[in-house]
Each structure stands twice: as C-alpha cells, then as structure tokens.
C-alpha cells in the first residue's frame, strides 16, 4: 500500500451498565472532545466522518440523522455504517487511501441500557419465515454454537468458564470497564443455565459508552501525534447468514477477516508476529473459537492454552487484557471500538496496571453478535 494510516486520537467515556445522566448526544460529544483534544485538532480540520449505528439499537427508524451534531460534522461529509466499529474504521481507512482527505473521524456509541426489549430486538434479526415462528431465544443460537464448538474441538465448559474468570479479573484493573469481578470457575459453572451449555455467566452483560477515533495519513499523523498507532492490516468478512447452512463449529468469518488483515500486514505466523489480542468474547466460548479461527491457536488448542494461563496478562499470548466484552460489557456495534481502543492504549503504554511489557503489534477483532456471521479484524503497530 502506498499510504500509511495511523490512529492519532482516541477518546472514550468509559463503559458502564447505565449512563442515566447523559443522552446519546452528550455521550458522543464527550468521546469526540477527548479524541479531538488528543489529536490537537478541531472538527473543521477533519475531512470526513464515519458514524456507526443500527437503527433499532438507537431507537430511531433512521438513526443516522442524529450523527452529525455531536461530532461537529454539521454540513460536512459524514455517513453511517450499520456494522461494527471496525467496519467504520475500514471505511475511513479506504477514504484516506482513495485520496478523499487526510484526516478522518470514526464514531461508535452504545446506549444499550435504553433498550427495554433487547431480546426481542435480537430475535427480530432472525429470518422471519424459517426461524422466527419458533419463537426461540437468540441465546438458543449461541447455545447450539457452543455445543457444536465443544464437540468439534474437545474444549470443555470449564475452559470456557476460565475465559470468564480471566476477563472479569482483567477488567478490575481497567478503569473504563463496567463489569469487572473476582469469581472462580465454579461460580460460572453453577450460574443459571440459559441455553445449555450456555449459562448466565457465559453471556457478556451490556454496557453504555462511546468511542471516537481520529485517523490520519502518514505525514499528517507524524505532525499530530508523538505516538501514532499504525494500521498495518484490516479485514472484514461475512459468512452465510442462514442458520441452516452455516458452519456451526468454526468462525469462518473471523478466519477470512484475519487472512485479509494478515495479508495486508505481511504477517505469516500470527502467534509469533502479534504480541497480544483483543478478541470478541460476547459469549465465553467465542474467545476460544475466534482464537482458533484466526490461527493464533490450532484447532482444539485454545481451551487448554486458556486453562494453563497462556492467555493471561502475564501469559505467553495475552488475550483481552482489557477484560473483553465479559468484563467491559457488550457494546453491540461499538464492540470493535472498545477492542481497538484497548490495543491503542497498550501500544502507547497507557494501559495502567494491565500494561503489557514491550508490545509492538496487537490485534483487535470483533463479531456482530447473534445471529450474524460477520467479523472484523485490525492489526495495529506502534
């Protein structure tokens, strides 16, 4: 690629189960103010903006209407990606490569606490003809996927529980995280069964929050930031959305998105060339499944590696030092935003007590949740 692009500003509100004192407008405004401040720019210097939202998660039938004001993007080029935050990041990245401009802003926001009928909304994403008439919970989809994953790889429920224990513990040291806790595997295994083998504790609770990032082309990036974090590779992919024909054991979307990102970054041995990863763990087993899909672990290896502590902060390959979705909270379309944010903080050496030693390359991955098969991956270096 001829142009290099870096993240030069990242702002967030942090993530909490509820944020009753601010509206979605103020939430994004706070994250944007911090991001612009960090990059040393104002919104007028931004060439284009990309917002991330899904209508029913915001409670508007055309949610993108409400995107410009709180970003300072009135009468400016801005559009919305109803996808993951990393999709929006990719879209902004492509705008810079296309020559549309040098400075781009990407926004994502979650007000999950404002959705009173969240389960119905997720059910509403299922095929209306073949799936919805059964009136089954979207968690049944996760339960079935978990069962098949355990069956194919030999991973155990205890290993999944260990993911929960690790991530919630990591979150205790992350001031942005909203769901940190000190628990053990027994606690997870004994929690209420939602859709066997999936228990309540295997499911990440949701959070509110906002993330805004400023991207810049190489020369501008070096001018704006002392610690630009470079986008070395980015990928996104969608497998079949149908429940009937999809591959239930493997996360093919994550594999394909990772392959695209690895190719761009020139990475051949991800486990060696990448120092740590922030991986979607909306459900505990997803962390293991994604690790294997992205070839960071061989099939069947992620469970044992986790059990032996290999993915702990002090482990051989740290995974979700932030606390992941299980510890920070499920942020829906912002999930990727939080992952990228943590990788940026680690690479800048700003991750506080969870700071990893001498890391230079990190991976952030996201998944769009039940019932989708869409995944995104970005590889960042300092």
């Amino acid at each position: 690629m001829c142009k290099r692009v870096a993240i030069v500003g990242a702002g967030t509100t942090g993530f909490r189960a509820t944020t009753p004192d601010v509206s979605y407008r103020e939430l994004t405004y706070e994250a944007a103010t911090k991001a612009y401040f960090e990059a040393g720019i104002g919104p007028k210097e931004v060439d284009a903006f990309v917002a991330t939202s899904e209508d029913f998660l915001e409670g508007y039938s055309i949610s993108d209407e409400y995107s410009p004001d709180q970003l300072g993007a009135v009468l400016r080029p801005i559009y919305t990606i109803p996808g993951d935050f990393i999709h929006s990041l990719a879209s902004a990245y492509m705008m810079i490569l296309s020559g549309i401009g040098n400075i781009m802003v990407v926004q994502g926001m979650s007000k999950a606490s404002n959705m009173l009928t969240l389960d119905e909304m997720v059910s509403f994403a299922m095929d209306p003809i073949y799936n919805r008439p059964l009136k089954e919970s979207p968690h049944a989809v996760a339960g079935m996927e978990m069962a098949r994953f355990l069956y194919e790889t030999g991973a155990t429920r205890k290993q999944c529980a260990q993911v929960v224990v690790k991530n919630k513990r990591n979150a205790l040291n992350n001031s942005f995280a909203g769901h940190g806790a000190l628990i053990d595997c027994e606690y997870v295994l004994n929690s209420q069964v939602i859709s066997f083998p999936l228990t309540q504790m295997d499911i990440s609770p949701h959070s509110d929050g906002a993330v805004v990032m400023v991207l810049a082309e190489e020369n501008t990036a070096k001018r704006l930031s002392e610690k630009p974090i470079w986008i070395r590779g980015i990928g996104w992919s969608t497998d079949t959305p149908g429940l009937e024909t999809r591959n239930w054991g493997e996360a093919v979307y994550a594999q394909m998105a990772a392959e695209m990102a690895y190719k761009m970054a020139g990475i051949r041995y991800p486990r060696k060339e990448i120092d740590f990863a922030e991986i979607n763990d909306e459900f505990s087993y997803k962390e293991l499944q994604h690790l294997e899909a992205m070839k960071i672990c061989k099939k069947g290896e992620a469970g044992p590696l986790t059990e032996m502590g290999g993915t702990e902060i002090k482990g051989e390959f740290p995974v979700n030092p932030s606390g992941g979705c299980l510890g920070v909270g499920n942020l829906f379309e912002l999930n990727g935003g939080h992952k990228v944010l943590e990788v940026v903080r680690q690479l800048r050496g700003e991750a506080g007590k969870n700071q990893l030693r001498s890391v230079t390359t990190g991976l952030a991955q996201s998944w769009r949740g039940i019932p989708t098969t869409t995944g995104t991956v970005v590889i960042l270096s300092n």
Binding site: T19, D21, R25, Y29, P43, D69, K111, T117, P128
Partner: protein, 176 residues
Amino acid sequence: MEITEKHVAETATKLSINDILGKKVLSVKWEPKLKYAWDNGPALGRYLAELKNGKIIAKKCDKCHRIMIPPRMFCELCWRPTGEWVFVQDTGIVNTWVVSYVDWKATRLDIQRGVRPITPAVIEIDGASKGMGILHHLDEVDPWKIYRGMKVRAVWKPAEERIGAITDIKYFKPME
C-alpha cells in the same frame, strides 16, 4: 446492453395486498415490541422540566451568541459547551406550515363531516435566535388563513395535567 422489458420481466412477481391477506400466497406475520427509555441528559431534561412549569427554556452559545431551542449542552456549530440558560417567550411566528388531511398513520380525516385538518407548523420562538423554530400544532385558527410570519401564542395544559413533555403545550393559536 439496454435494460429492456425482457430483462426485468421475471425479476419480481406482482401481487396485490389481497393476494397476501387472502392467502393466495403464503406469509408470516410479526409484531415486534421495540420499547425504549431514552436518557434525556441535562439539556432536554431541563427543557422538559421547565415545560412542566409552563415555561420554555433555551441555552445560549457564548461564541456565536445563538440562543438555541431545544437547549443543548454544546453548540454543534462552534463545537464548544454552551453557556447560560435563557427563558424565552411562549410566543412566536409561523415560519412554515401544513394543512394536513391525514393523520400520522396516513388515515384520511373525515373533513366532509367537519373534522378539522391538522395544522402542524414550524414556529420561531420569540426570544430565541432568529430562525430557531420548533415543531408544534396550530389550532383555533382557520387553516386557510395561516400565513408566514403570523404571530402565535402557546396554549398550555392546566398545571396539574402537565407531565414535563412537549405536549404540555396543547397547541399554538393566533395572537389576534
């Protein structure tokens, strides 16, 4: 490659709604419950609270000096936090308006039987900056005699019925 009738002929099968309701073709019904409780935040929260008090409150930007309604915590144009709260009048002028023969469900009103058309308008509020309008209804007026620049005044619900909502103002009516 012209796109002709031949190309598009079989791309879509025309139905009438009666084909679906009459089960000539198969279908599935669904009624999702999509319910929310949106956090108001300090700006709209205060706006609604003052409506309950029978007052309209705005917020001022210290830089562009716009007095903005509805109030907001930041000025979207100057990109900075807004300054003082300002009470504005409950009067204004009609910027633009509609004489609607349909309600929100696109159901036709029975105009022949004397049902009054709905007359929503953008009303520029006195005391706010020029051009600062809100959407509301007009009433106690001949729909066909509304004009641009017409002076109007808010008609409030009685204090005990107000809940802190935009509908605490029943409608606006002409000042003469």
